[in-house]
């Protein structure tokens, strides 16, 4: 390989030296000069770069691939898509962070290496629940330790959930813990609820009391008051401001004003005067004390009768709690380290950095080279340390999937994050030994704004759903994906009715029935997307078959998300990946107050079924009710499911202990490298 550059250069020298050629050229300023010397000068000036190139090439030749070296060292090289925002597991929300965190931390229950439905012991050796599944007892390993050797106890878990739910921390994923009793009230800082509603001796029951304006009324316009001092407002303005904020958000001065002038605040008639005074008095007492943490008063459903027992009480039966507890939001964080570097609720301390981060997982943080890689190494204090197969894992934040694929094929990665779908064909042909296509709990769908004229008619929406040829889409565009039969993908014993099918004639008939034969009379719609791809074209073509013309509106990612959240779109390309293995992670989206609904659709019947399911302790009966709810949702069809996700990626055969999993949470402690097993 080395001679490559040398003879080429020499050849050029020879080729250019043709005196009879140049001699005829009268315009050449060099004509008639001592050409040999000129060329010598030029050769010299060109030799330097050539030499420099050669010098650079020398060490480059026959280099050992990164994978080759990593195989010797027992280090797994993982393509991990993006640089983590942070490694404080209670602040981050992304999948790339989650992959790293699951190597550094471990929850109560662990992931089974090959079966999504099965739970293995994690920090807890065993667990049991009461009859209606509202109280769970986890028995922790007595030998459990943090990676710095400190013992890990049930108090650490309570501290972790306290921190996660603390309103000051503002953890975006805190709602994952809201099924713990009183957790939601505490997390949302519902002071009235905690100080008065949870007190059994309070003269008025919370059921009545809650009708008072605790949360504030955002429908009242108070823009003009935003930057003015409370003392400078007149009576009417004060009333307005207090109503906008609500009792829970008032400061001491404002509460004092209500105490002194009760007319400033409107109460529902059923709340007696004595209770009103008492509510204000308690809130004022709390505010005057500097609004201390309400954790104790909120009496969350968390208890540690002894250092190795954790009792979690829930507000409703959660038969899948062990499965849910595998999510990183349920992992413990090290109290002794967090408090060493700052307050419990500080978001910006250095506790989660190299040298400081202490975890309880099979690995510990070794190096974090910004935008380059994060490396974790064996944690000697892990309870199952002798059975951990790898010496370390290196996570590379390669965002560009083409770069990632190239890196993999050049021997720089053991496993990739994703294969670009347009490379699937070629990979299948040339590198079948590396290709993996595995189901993933997620759905590609088209979101409809049901407040738009035309799309507000369920018949139109059903007609659109009937017109989508999912088989064909999955064959040619969403390659490797499964045609969606309903919104929620197949999960364990959950069997919702398979309602989606393709029937163009029926779709046309339905559209005509709704009063839009051949799409006539429908306004023109825009199809919102963040990325132009074949899927967009296909949806456009599908609607065209019904006579509906779509214009495509492409927005950058942030604007695309914002437009949906503000219902400023007609039709949008969308997707959803489940957080845990239960249909509620898909169905809860479509409740009225869910921030991810973004369709303008809601249904009291649908929500009643979800609530009914939440109270049902029998797992199968519960899933049946959820299936009914899904049926209701699919009848209304505020979204058009297209396909169930698959994960396409490349994976080297020497990686052992890595099996297809629908949540894609491969327990790192079970993975090992066996380079000798592959030729």
């Amino acid at each position: 390989m080395l001679p490559f550059s040398v003879p080429t250069a020499a050849h050029q020298e020879k080729g250019t030296f043709h005196p009879e050629n140049t001699a005829k050229n009268t315009t050449n300023p060099l004509a008639g000069c001592n050409r040999a010397l000129v060329y010598r000068a030029l050769i010299f000036s060109r030799t330097i770069p050539v030499l420099a190139l050669v010098c650079l090439l020398l060490p480059g030749c026959r280099r050992e691939t990164l994978v080759g070296r990593a195989n010797r060292e027992g280090i797994l090289l993982v393509g991990n898509s993006a640089e983590p925002r942070a490694l404080d597991l209670q602040i981050v929300t992304g999948v790339p962070e989650n992959k790293i965190l699951s190597a550094l931390f471990e929850g109560l229950c662990g992931d089974h290496p090959s079966d999504d439905e099965k739970m293995v012991p994690g920090m807890a050796t065993h667990w049991e629940h009461n009859e209606d599944m509202t109280e769970w007892t986890f028995h922790l390993r007595p030998e459990a330790k943090w990676s710095d050797g400190a013992p890990l106890t049930a108090e650490d878990f309570i501290f972790s959930y306290h921190r996660m739910l603390h309103p000051e921390l503002a953890a975006a994923y805190a709602p994952m813990l809201h099924s713990i009793r009183n957790a939601e009230a505490y997390n949302r800082d519902e002071r009235g609820h905690i100080l008065c509603g949870l007190d059994e001796n309070f003269p008025t029951q919370w059921e009545t009391l809650r009708k008072a304006n605790f949360q504030g009324d955002p429908s009242i316009d108070a823009e003009d008051l935003a930057n003015r001092k409370f003392a400078s407002l007149d009576q009417g303005e004060r009333r307005r401001l207090l109503a906008v904020k609500g009792l829970d958000r008032l400061d001491a001065g404002q509460l004092r004003a209500i105490r002194d002038t009760p007319a400033l605040f409107d109460w529902p008639d059923e709340i007696p005067q004595a209770s009103r005074t008492l509510v204000i008095a308690r809130l004022l007492e709390h505010a005057e004390a500097g609004a201390p943490d309400l954790f104790e008063k909120a009496r969350l459903g968390l208890d540690a009768p002894d250092p190795h027992t954790l009792v979690v009480s829930l507000r409703e039966p959660v038969p899948y709690l062990p499965s849910k507890s595998r999510h990183s939001t349920w992992f413990p964080v090290p109290r002794h380290v967090i408090l060493k570097h700052g307050k419990m609720t500080d978001r910006f301390t250095k506790w989660a950095t190299v040298g400081n981060l202490v975890g309880n997982g099979p690995f510990q943080l070794h190096a974090w080279r910004y935008n380059h890689y994060i490396e974790v190494r064996r944690n000697p204090h892990y309870w199952n340390a002798p059975n951990v197969g790898l010496n370390g894992i290196r996570f590379y934040p390669i965002e560009n999937p083409y770069t990632e694929t190239r890196s993999f094929l050049a021997g720089q990665l053991h496993t990739t994050y994703s294969l670009p779908p347009d490379l699937l064909e070629k990979t299948r042909r040339e590198y079948p030994q590396y290709l993996r296509t595995e189901p993933y709990v997620g759905t590609v769908f088209v979101r409809l704004n049901t407040t738009r004229p035309g799309l507000d008619d369920p018949r139109v929406r059903r007609a659109l759903a009937l017109a989508i040829n999912r088989e064909e889409l999955c064959k040619y565009i969403y390659e490797g994906f499964t045609p969606a039969e309903t919104f929620t993908p197949q999960l364990g014993d959950y069997r919702p009715p398979a309602v989606l099918r393709y029937n163009l004639e029926e779709a046309k008939a339905l559209l005509a029935e709704a009063g839009y034969p051949n799409g006539e009379g429908l306004p023109s719609f825009a199809l919102l997307t963040s990325r132009l791809n074949a899927g967009v074209d296909a949806i456009q073509a599908t609607f065209r078959k019904l006579g509906i013309r779509l214009t495509v509106e492409q927005k950058d990612w942030g604007s695309y998300i914002a437009a949906q959240q503000q219902l400023e779109f007609d039709i949008a390309m969308a997707g959803w990946i489940g957080d845990y293995l239960d249909p509620t992670t898909f169905l809860d989206l479509w409740t009225r107050n869910n921030g991810n609904n973004n369709t303008g659709w809601d249904s009291p019947e649908f929500e009643a079924l979800l609530r009914k399911a939440a109270r049902q302790p029998n797992p199968q009966a519960r899933l049946d009710i959820l299936a009914q709810a899904e049926g209701k949702f699919m009848e209304a069809m505020p979204v058009l499911p297209v396909a169930w996700y698959s994960r396409l990626y490349l994976h080297r055969p020497e990686v052992h202990g890595w099996h297809p999993l629908v949540l894609d949470n491969h327990p790192w402690e079970n993975v090992s490298l066996k380079p000798d097993s592959v030729r």
């Binding site: 001592n34 000129v38 000068a41 929300t93 503002a170 800082d189 380059h372 770069t403 890196s407």
Partner: protein, 311 residues
């Protein structure tokens, strides 16, 4: 002269002030903000975050506070992309990478472009000239998102000489392919500029005089012609260097390089105001300083310019 320099410096500061102000208000006018996420962020969480980062204050107050902090040298912490990390720290890690890559790319550009241009000038209207100019044209026309993957495929995957992607500050071979990708475009421009500059100089009287005096041709080229012939190229190097450093976004993505470009794009995508402001001011200062130095050099070298300014 010193008065002139001080004036230019003040102009530079004014440019930075306007740049920062525009950036601040444009970022705040984005239809999305740093406190939204792919999945909806609960309302009470968003309120907390806004308060934490001072977004609950009126915009002008926020502007005033930011301006004060920046003047005191505090760029603040990233709001979203690397939440809580000092923007100054992040830039300190990313900028040397971009700088090294840019410098290496310029070295490659000069090592290829200047000799090629000189050779083309000497062999004007001959096969070699046409060949070099054709390749140069190709280099100018081919975007780096074509050259980059091709180089990575060939040298990275098939030959395995250099890593196909990644960065290692201890291993310069990782720098080779991205620097080559970046440098080739500049090399192409340089070769054309050098050729034109050399041709002009070679036609001038003093070259003929040198020849008439029987000077060796190699000495004429290297000693007499090259100096004048390189002037257009040298003038090009400054802006090209700044462009290489600030315009390496695509190359950083293709080769997975931890430089400023990718960071900057991500900050814009998420509306991370502090992390947008940092690189904007850094790039802005670089260009202001480069122009300032160029102005000074020109004043220094060209007495005519000096006297004209004085009058």
């Amino acid at each position: 002269m010193w008065k002139e320099a001080a004036k230019r410096l003040m102009q530079g500061l004014l440019v930075l002030f306007v740049l920062g102000t525009l950036t601040f208000f444009l970022v705040h006018a984005l239809p999305y903000g740093p406190f939204q996420d792919e999945k909806a962020v609960p309302e009470h969480v968003r309120e907390r975050l806004e308060k934490l980062h001072g977004y609950d204050k009126p915009l002008l107050t926020q502007y005033w506070l930011r301006l004060n902090n920046i003047v005191r040298g505090d760029l603040g912490s990233s709001i979203k992309v690397m939440e809580g990390r000092e923007v100054g720290d992040i830039l300190m890690q990313a900028f040397p990478v971009s700088l090294k890559l840019g410098l290496f790319a310029m070295l490659i550009a000069m090592a290829i472009g200047i000799p090629a241009g000189v050779l083309a000038a000497i062999r004007k209207n001959h096969l070699l000239d046409y060949l070099i100019m054709a390749v140069a044209l190709l280099g100018i026309c081919l975007p780096n998102f074509v050259i980059g993957p091709l180089l990575a495929e060939f040298f990275g995957r098939h030959l395995g000489w250099f890593p196909a992607s990644g960065w290692d500050s201890r291993d310069p071979s990782a720098m080779m392919l991205p620097a080559l990708t970046l440098g080739l475009v500049s090399a192409a421009y340089l070769s054309r500029l050098t050729r034109a500059g050399m041709l002009e100089v070679l036609h001038q009287d003093f070259i003929r005089t040198a020849r008439a005096k029987g000077q060796k041709e190699s000495v004429i080229i290297v000693r007499h012609a090259l100096r004048g012939g390189l002037i257009p190229s040298i003038a090009f190097l400054g802006p090209a260097f700044a462009g290489t450093i600030s315009g390496s976004v695509v190359v950083e993505s293709i080769f997975q390089i931890p430089g400023i470009g990718r960071l900057f794009i991500k900050a814009i995508e998420t509306g991370d105001e502090t992390l947008i402001m940092g690189p904007v001011l850094l790039y802005g200062s670089l260009i202001v300083i480069a122009n300032f130095l160029a102005d000074l050099l020109q004043l220094w070298f060209n007495p005519r310019l000096r006297s004209r300014n004085a009058s």
